[in-house]
């Protein structure tokens, strides 16, 4: 481990924390920036043992695009679900779907599962022991295969690109 890595274990986390600090205190003064930098440096250092693996983002722009898509889907999902809830409940066709996974890292799987839960009428319910399937509950889904394809194309692939491709 280089000195640099030892002193700055999470090069992405540190500036993020500084940014979040400034958000928290709701002001951008020199004093707060200094304090934010200090915290951004110290907190990762102190918590290094709890988060030993280094996160690297391979494609930052894909990440931004992903976030955009996700936000849009979330808004849409809300309307979809709202309509379902307000509508005739007897017409709903809930279904469980086994989603085969291509992503392998903890972070990517977790982000995928989260994204699925946040978006149209789906909740990720269980990860199989071998981490190869994610069980999804869909509130109203006629065609499971389309859903699987959509998820894989819309969420899984970008996540794989961002976090897993070297």
């Amino acid at each position: 481990m280089t000195t640099m890595a030892r002193l700055l274990p999470h090069p992405i986390l540190s500036p993020t924390l500084t940014g979040l600090w400034l958000l928290l205190v709701n002001s951008i003064t020199p004093g707060q920036i200094v304090l934010g930098l200090l915290l951004g440096w110290m907190i990762p250092l102190l918590t290094q043992r709890f988060w030993p693996e280094v996160v690297t983002i391979h494609k930052p722009f894909t990440l931004l695009r992903y976030i955009g898509i996700l936000l849009w889907d979330i808004i849409m999902a809300n309307f979809t679900v709202a309509r379902l809830i307000l509508g005739d409940l007897d017409r709903l066709k809930p279904v469980f779907i086994q989603l085969p996974l291509s992503v392998t890292s903890d972070l990517a799987i977790s982000l995928l599962a989260n994204s699925i839960t946040l978006t149209p009428g789906t909740v990720s319910a269980r990860l199989s022991e071998d981490r190869r399937y994610l069980l999804i509950h869909a509130l109203n889904e006629a065609d499971p295969d389309t859903l699987i394809a959509t998820i894989k194309q819309r969420y899984e692939r970008p996540l794989q690109e961002i976090f897993e491709q070297c």
Binding site: L23, I85, L92, V123, A125, L135
Partner: protein, 118 residues
């Protein structure tokens, strides 16, 4: 203009909060009920938080964006909660209108050795 924006955000937030809980109340089985709050409240609370940010940025001198932190936080945590709840419900074999696929053989086998791994 600002007032309209605020009103829109507030109403959206409130309506989605309402619908989320309505889903919780109305839907027929646990897995379905899970969809109500976890989705609707993200947008519901999200809108309200943005409304708050807009309101205080406008009222006080500087930008007030710290509400975004709560949104961010909820976006990270709400799906995790939902996931764990679903997992718990599956574990308890709660009644479902959707057919629950049986656990893989591997999962079943490993459940006999619980408690040893640390």
């Amino acid at each position: 203009m600002l007032e309209y924006l605020l009103s829109f955000l507030i109403l959206t937030g409130a309506i989605f909060t309402f619908i989320g809980s309505l889903g919780l109340l109305r839907l027929k089985d646990f897995y379905m009920r899970l969809h109500g709050p976890t989705k609707a409240t993200t947008l519901g609370v999200g809108s309200l938080l943005i409304a708050s940010a807009v309101f205080f940025s406008n009222r006080d001198a500087g930008l007030s964006l710290h509400e975004i932190l709560i949104t961010l936080f909820l976006f990270i945590t709400a799906p995790v909660s939902a996931h764990l709840l679903a997992k718990a419900a599956l574990h308890l074999n709660l009644h479902s209108f959707a057919k629950i696929p049986i656990k893989s053989i591997k999962e079943k086998a490993s459940s006999d050795t619980i408690g040893i791994k640390h």
